[in-house]
Symmetry: D2
Subunit: 349 residues, 4 copies
Amino acid sequence: MEHHLSFSCDYMEGAHPRILQRLIETNLVQTPGYGLDSYCASAKEKIRSVCQAPDADIFFLTGGTQTNATVIDAILKSYQGVIAAETGHISVHEAGAIELGGHKVLTLPHQNGKISASQIRTLLETYENDANHDHMVMPGMVYLSHPTEYGTLYSKKELTEISSLCREYQIPLYVDGARLAYALACPQNDLTLADLAALCDVFYIGGTKCGALFGEAIVVPKPDFIPHFFTIIKQHGALFAKGRLLGIQFDTLFTDHLYETIGNSAIQAADQIRQALIQNGYQLRFGSPTNQIFCVMENAVMEQLAGQVEFGFWEAYDDFHTIIRFATSWATIPEQVEMLCRLLAAQHA
Amino acid sequence: MEHHLSFSCDYMEGAHPRILQRLIETNLVQTPGYGLDSYCASAKEKIRSVCQAPDADIFFLTGGTQTNATVIDAILKSYQGVIAAETGHISVHEAGAIELGGHKVLTLPHQNGKISASQIRTLLETYENDANHDHMVMPGMVYLSHPTEYGTLYSKKELTEISSLCREYQIPLYVDGARLAYALACPQNDLTLADLAALCDVFYIGGTKCGALFGEAIVVPKPDFIPHFFTIIKQHGALFAKGRLLGIQFDTLFTDHLYETIGNSAIQAADQIRQALIQNGYQLRFGSPTNQIFCVMENAVMEQLAGQVEFGFWEAYDDFHTIIRFATSWATIPEQVEMLCRLLAAQHA
Amino acid sequence: MEHHLSFSCDYMEGAHPRILQRLIETNLVQTPGYGLDSYCASAKEKIRSVCQAPDADIFFLTGGTQTNATVIDAILKSYQGVIAAETGHISVHEAGAIELGGHKVLTLPHQNGKISASQIRTLLETYENDANHDHMVMPGMVYLSHPTEYGTLYSKKELTEISSLCREYQIPLYVDGARLAYALACPQNDLTLADLAALCDVFYIGGTKCGALFGEAIVVPKPDFIPHFFTIIKQHGALFAKGRLLGIQFDTLFTDHLYETIGNSAIQAADQIRQALIQNGYQLRFGSPTNQIFCVMENAVMEQLAGQVEFGFWEAYDDFHTIIRFATSWATIPEQVEMLCRLLAAQHA
Amino acid sequence: MEHHLSFSCDYMEGAHPRILQRLIETNLVQTPGYGLDSYCASAKEKIRSVCQAPDADIFFLTGGTQTNATVIDAILKSYQGVIAAETGHISVHEAGAIELGGHKVLTLPHQNGKISASQIRTLLETYENDANHDHMVMPGMVYLSHPTEYGTLYSKKELTEISSLCREYQIPLYVDGARLAYALACPQNDLTLADLAALCDVFYIGGTKCGALFGEAIVVPKPDFIPHFFTIIKQHGALFAKGRLLGIQFDTLFTDHLYETIGNSAIQAADQIRQALIQNGYQLRFGSPTNQIFCVMENAVMEQLAGQVEFGFWEAYDDFHTIIRFATSWATIPEQVEMLCRLLAAQHA
C-alpha cells in the first residue's frame, strides 16, 4: 500500500527527531495524568510567551476534528450555528461531527478557500433583518482555517477586519491552525502567533501535520473564556490520559523556535514543485503559497503519473481534466522533490 | 508536582521499551493515514489470531472514554440505554460522555465492582413486564469492565452466563478492557482473549494503561456488526490521523506474547503490597487480585503516609477511615515496591 | 377499550366547559401564530398577576415531557446534569428525553416521592469534595414535582429550604407542576403560585391534567433568565403554531380563579375514596393528600376489582399484593365516586 | 396586533366547524391516553383506507417542525444526513431542529422550491465517487414538501422518478405534507394520497394548516418501518397525552372526504387573487398553483398596501422591489378576497 514516492498528504511520517528524542529521554519519568504534569506546564508557558498572551488558557488535544468539534460545541449556545466557508474542514470532511454536537454549519461561498468580513457581515445582517429569524439558526461564531484547505492565507488586514466585525457583533472568532507552521514559514504570511492571539477568541496550533507525532494546542487568549472546558473536553472523549506526551511534544516545538521554522523546508520544496509545474506548462490553482500545491492535469497524464507518485485527487476540473494536490511537509527531502520534478518534466515531454 | 514515589495510577510513564524502539525505527517511513497502513494491518492480523476470531473487525482509538462513548453510541438505538454497574467507568467518571451521545446509563448495584446475570435478567424482565415500558428507556446493551474499576475479575462462568442472557435477549455485550493485560497476567483469571471474542459482541483491549504510549484496540468479532463504524469514529472526533502509531504499538504488543505477559510484574508487585498490608494489620477491600490494591486506612495514618508516597483517595469508609488505592503497572520496579512496603510497616509500628 | 368506570388517570376527558366555550366563541377570529396573539398576552398578564411576578416571562407548550425536556436543556450547560428524585417523571417515564438533550439525571432516593434540601446539599458537597469531580457530571439544577408522582406535597418550609440551598450554590430550581391545580385545591398545601414564583427560577403550571384540553404554562419569574428561549422552544419542536389555542385556554383558567378552584371536587372525591379504602381495611400508601390515591391490594381482590373499574397498577408490594392507584380529576362526578366506593365495600365483604 | 384583513398565513383561525362540533360532542367521554383510544383507531382506519395502505402505521403529532424532527431523527442513522432543497422548511425555518438531532441537512439548489431526481442522483453519485466519502456525511434520506414552501407541486411523474431513485439507492423518501389539502384541492395536482403511500416511505398529512385545530398524521405505509417509533416520539417530547383530540380531528377530516375537499375554496380564492394581480400588472413568482400567492411589488406600493392588509414579506427582489406572499386557507371568505382584489386594483390605479 505504501508508495515509494508520495506527496499525498502532510502526515505520512512520525515526528521530528527532536520530539522523538524528548519522548525517549522522558519515557520512564512518572507524572500525573490529564495534562497536570510539568511538561504541559512548561509547554503552556512557552506558548503563552510566543503568543504574547500571558494569561491564556492552553489545552492539548490529539486531533483536528476532535479539536474543532469540542471547541465549537463548547463555544456555541445550543441554538447557534457556526459560520464557515463551504470548503471549510468542518463543512465537508468531519463526517458531521459539528452536527453531532447539535449545531448547523452556516456556509458561505469561498474565494480560494477564504471568506471575507463583508460576506460575514451580509450574513449577520440578513439574519438580523429577517422577520422570522427567531425561527432560524442564530449565527454564533466564525470558523476560519489558516492556511485554508486550499493552502491560501488570510492577510493580517483581512483577519483584522473579520476580528473587528466579530467583536462588533460579539461573536467569537475561531481559527483552525491544523497547518499553521506552514503559514508561519511562508514569506507571504504576515500573521504571527501573537497576532492570532490578539485577533481570535480561540485558535489552535496544529501539531499532527507540523512535526509532532500527534497533537493540537488550543489557545484561549482570554482566560476562562470557556468555563469548565476541562470537563467539556472529558465529556467529548477528548481528554488524553497521558497528557504529558502532548506537553513534551509542544514543549519541544516551542523550544528554539522549532515550530516557527519547521515548515521552512516544506515551503521551499513546494515552491520548487510549483516552479516545475509552471515550467512544464501545468496550470496552478487556488494560488496557494504554502505546502499544498494544486494543479490542473489532463486525466491521461494524471493516470500515468499516478503509477509513479502518490498524490491527492481533489476534484474534477472538467470532463478531461482533474485538479490534483501535492503536499510537502517538514519531512520532505530534496531527493523526493527532485524525483517529482523529473517525473513532471518527463510526463510533459 | 511529580512525586518521588508514586502508586497513584497505572499510566504515569510512557511506553514499554520495545514499543518505543519500534516507533523510533519506523519514524520516517511514509504511510497513508487513518489506519490504512501496513502496521495496522499486521497488528489486526495478530489480534485476530490470538482472539481466534479470523474475521473480526479491529479499530484503534486513542483513549478509554473516547472508546466507550463511540462504541456505545454506535451500538445503541437512539431510544436505548446501556446497563452498567453503578460503579462502572461510564456511570461515574466520563463526565456525561454517554449522555452527550443521547443515552441513559441504566445502573445496577455492584458487588465489588461486578454485576451478575441474574441482576441483569431482573432488570430486563422488570422492563418487559412494566405496562408503561414504551414510555421508558429500553435496555439496549450491557457494559462490563474486566478487570472492574475495583480490580476484580469476572470468571469465565460468570461471563458465560451474562453472554448467554444477552444472546437470549438479543442485547449486545460490551467489555471495557482498559486494564485487560492485568487480568491476563493474574493467576485467578480464567478468561482468555479468545474467550472474550467468543462471549462478547464488542470488547476493547486497553493499551494506555498496559504498556502502550496510548491507544485502545476495539475488537468486533462478528464482522460488520457495526456498519460504517469508520465514519462513526470520524464523526465522534476519534479517528486518529496517524493511525500507524496505533498499529505499530499494537503490533508490538501482540508480538512474542508481550501483551499477555506485560502485566506479570505488576501483579507480583501488587501481591507483595497486599501481603505487606495484611502483615501490618490493614484491612484489604473489594478482594481485587489485580494491579489495583484497596485498603482501609485510619485518616491520621493516611495523612502521614501521603507525605511520603502518592496514592489514590477512593472514598470515605467512615468518619475516621478512608479507602485508599495503590496501583502498580508494567513499569513498577522492585525498589519502589520495597520502599512502599517499608513505609507501610513503619507507619504501622 | 374504554371502560364504563375509570379512575386510571387524570387526563381521560377533554376540557372544562368554560374553556370549550371560549374556543368555540373565538374559533374564526384571525390571529398571528406562535403565541404572538392577544389571547396569549392576556393570559400572560393574568398569570403574572396571580404569581405576583410582574416581569415574568411566560411560555405556553403542549405537554409535560416536552416542557421538561425543553426547559432542562435550555437551563443546563452541556456538561451539567439535573438533580431529581429517583421516582421523578424525568427519571423514569420520559423515555430518555433528558438524555436525548445530552444530560444525566442525577437521582436521589425519595421519601414518598420527595427529596430534601439536606439530600441535595450532601450531593453537592460530595461532588465538590471529590478530587475527580472535573471528570464527573456537574450538578446544574434541581428538578422537583409538586404534587409529586406519588401525590405528595412539598411544604412551604421544605421548598424554601431547597430554594435557599439552590441560591447558595447558584443552581436553578425548577418545579414541574403537571398537577399543580390539585395542590392548590388541597387543604394541606401551603404553597401559592406567588410562593412558587418567589422560590423557583422556573416552574410550569399544568393544564393538560387540570382542565385544559392540553397545554402547560412555563413561568420564568426573572425576565430573560433563559435568553432566546423562543428559538430554543422552536428548535425542540415545541413551538405551537396556533399559540392562540394555548392563550385562550390559560386566559380562561386564570379568569375568576378557575385554575385555583378547578381541583376542589377532585380532592373531595379523592378524600371520599381514601375514607372508603380505610373503612374497608385497605392500607393507604405514600400519604398522598391530593387527587392520586395509592393503596395496597391483595392480588386476587385486585383482579376481581379490575373487571369492574379501571385503575393503575403501580408496583408490586410483595408476592401477594400490589400497590394500585386511583386518580380523580376535575371531571370526576359524584356518581362515579359512589360507584367506586360501593365496589370497594363489596370487594371487601 | 390582529389585522382586520389578513392573508399573512394559513393558520390564523381555529378549526373547521365539523371538527369543533365533534370535540364538543365527545368532550366528556373518557378514553385512555397517548393515542390508544377508539377515535384514533377509527381515524387510522380511514386514513389507511384512503391511502390504500391497509397495513400502514399511523401516528398523530401536534406540529410540523416536531413531526419533521422526530421522523428524520428516527429514520437516519447517526452518521447520515437528509437531502433537501435549500429552501426546504427543515433547511431554513426549524431553528436547527434537525441538527439538534445530530444530522446535517444536505442542501440542493431549488427550482421554485422543488428538487429533481437528477439532482439527487448527482449528489448520491458524487458522494459515492468521492475517495474521502468515509470522512463525509452519508446521504441517508430525501425530504420533499408537497406543496413546497413556494406553493409548487411535484407531478406524479416527478415524484415517481425520485421514488425510483430512492429505492435504487435504498434511501427512504419522506414527504412533508403540511399543506397537503391544498395540493389535493388543486386541479394541477395529479398525486393522490394513495400515490403518496405507494411512492413514499413516510409522509405526513398536515392538519394544522388544513382545517384542524392542530395536528399532523404521519403515515408509514410499510408497517414497522420505524421500529419502536412510539418510544421515539415520547423521547422527542412529541407524544400527546390526550391523543384522542388528534384522533377525533383526523377522524372528522377523513369522514365524507372533508380533507380532500377542504382546500377547494382556498384554491378558488387564490386563483381569484392571482387573476387580480395579473390584471393589475403585478408579476407573479414561482408559479404556485396552490393557496400561496407570490408576487413582486414595488416597495412604495407594498408599504401603502401594508397599511390595509396583512401579508408576508418573503425576500428582497431588488433594491426597489420585494417579493410578498398572500396565503388563503379553508377559512378565507369571499368578502375578504374581494376586498383584497379591490385594494390591489386601487393601489395600481
